[in-house]
Symmetry: C2
Subunit: 387 residues, 2 copies
Amino acid sequence: MDFLNKKYLFTPGPVPVSPRVLLTQAQPMTHHRLPEFSEVLREIREDLKYLFQTQREVYFFASSGTGAMEAAIVNLFSPGDKVIVVEAGKFGERWRELAETYGLNPVVLKIEWGQAIKPEQVEKALKEHPDAKAVLMQACETSTGVKHPVKEISELTRSKETLLVIDAITALGVYPLPMDEWGLDVVITGSQKALSLPPGLSFIAFSDKALSLAESSKLPKYYFNLAKERKAYTKDTTAFTPAISLLLGLKEMLKRVRSLGLEKIFKHCSALSLACRKGVSALGLEIFPEVPSESLTVVKSPQGLNTGEFLKFLRDKWGILFAGGQDKLKGKIFRITHMGDQSPFDLMVALSALEMGLNLFGIKIPLGASLVSAEEILMEYLKNEGV
Amino acid sequence: MDFLNKKYLFTPGPVPVSPRVLLTQAQPMTHHRLPEFSEVLREIREDLKYLFQTQREVYFFASSGTGAMEAAIVNLFSPGDKVIVVEAGKFGERWRELAETYGLNPVVLKIEWGQAIKPEQVEKALKEHPDAKAVLMQACETSTGVKHPVKEISELTRSKETLLVIDAITALGVYPLPMDEWGLDVVITGSQKALSLPPGLSFIAFSDKALSLAESSKLPKYYFNLAKERKAYTKDTTAFTPAISLLLGLKEMLKRVRSLGLEKIFKHCSALSLACRKGVSALGLEIFPEVPSESLTVVKSPQGLNTGEFLKFLRDKWGILFAGGQDKLKGKIFRITHMGDQSPFDLMVALSALEMGLNLFGIKIPLGASLVSAEEILMEYLKNEGV
């Protein structure tokens, strides 16, 4: 009977968090300098390596994902350093803004929102700017739903001195990004995405090449300080007070990731995103990004739909939360995530709300079409994997 | 990423409980003899009257619903008393068993499982047994999904000395059963049904006619003792230790019932059950009960389906919990409830799991058909009520 209060979260962060994690976080508060908490940290560090597919250490901060992006900038570079920035949306902009804020010299590769960068564009920039210290880019550009060709670009940078710095906030744990195998130099993520945790933790890992550049970094840093965290790690602790309850949830979640295995998780996100794209297309709607990421489905708003009103209606009346477009995409797209504690059945919730909502808003769609298309994909997945 | 652990509860008790209620119950334990707990009890008693649509007191026990059925028997009757029992399923049987256990003289009206009692059958029994102290029946027979004609039967009993005792465990709060208006003498319910609470509380209200018969009751009773509870109520307490955390959840839930209003809640259950029936029928499946209750949809298992295996598969592999048939209906039906903290979107989960599951089990159904049929009903409901 509490039905009018139910919330169904399909935003690309925060995402649904499982009751098991929420209960883990509701444990009585403990102290981060106790020996048993050092044991928690040791386990987390080991399991993060599995998630990042790396032998390097993974560092974390009590911050949003942007904190780890800032940590990359301030720990790697020095004033005036040239960096190549892939700017294909809101989060590409963020790399540029961070570079500008800290007095770097960004070479911006501006890509139309909705398009993916082409490896040739990076290749050309690297040739023109052999002194660039790094390429800063997203794996998935959350604002447009685009998946950038990280692997292909890593093949361009790994033999050079130029670092490849990947904001994988909505990508790591969604689809393969093996850090060591591909030679990624910096990989960043956040807790409120594929890790299905509440917001509040950011993560960053550095290759040896990145660590060696960091040695000479001259930018000011205090909280986001890699050297301090490295030193604290030798004592199985953190430089500053960690987000204790979030870390307890993280420990639980990382165990789950290990027990399921990354491959199974990638297949899950892949099935949900494919089913969603097929479903949305069956309604006659268009997918916005040129190369869609498995993290979220970004849909072009159909002609005649007041997208703002539509999303507000779904949110306030039905408790269904999709994300709208940001900045220049406001009113032109909406976004449905596949990250978080979501099952194939939750996608049916999203699609049925989409169908019924569009219908009520006077958009002509074939009722049920997205559901059937999604079922066809999900049945295959459930038969082969879920079973 | 915890997706393989998600549970979707569609059983006719227990039902999904809202996070708000769960959090209310997670408050630090308090003591039931404190003045502030008396205030809780006073509020609950007032709000229960609204739910039961009565001016009488509603009593409650820390017990399952069966406890309140036993309370009705032991507080109303004396050894050898004749009672007319409507036995149209598992819960009708329970009335008979209780009557037999306490040495009453039950006149059993046996109805084929799946059929509803006809008022004429009760009329005839009342004529043949004018000395019957009561008619004992269900409002909804949960084992078959049948809705019995309580109103019509109340018109037969209200002018007579014979009491009408209604097990409304899966009916009260689902569809109208106004106790005072219809002259129902005893109404019983439980917490884990329409009230959307965990199991553990039962409720019972008595008309003046019932209270006066209770005065002369000679059956032994200690825990389920109306006189003790009535006395305790005068002191704003309970005779025995109450289920404190459940009562805190109940208080929260009853406030919600009052703020939504019974009419809105009845419309909600009615829309969900209609959508489910239409959906199931669109798959070519048959509804089992002659007169279906809005509390749950009971479906005849299609030819060739191993129902036990099917339900086990849905439960163990997909986390979808439907209920099977009991006793003679085992393997022949399955049951999907509309009680509890469920939205129209949750019904889409149930139906898509049903469709995909049947398909995987080799039952030929038109994929998507139940979803479209349900959407048509739910859209109307959401347009008029949910908005």
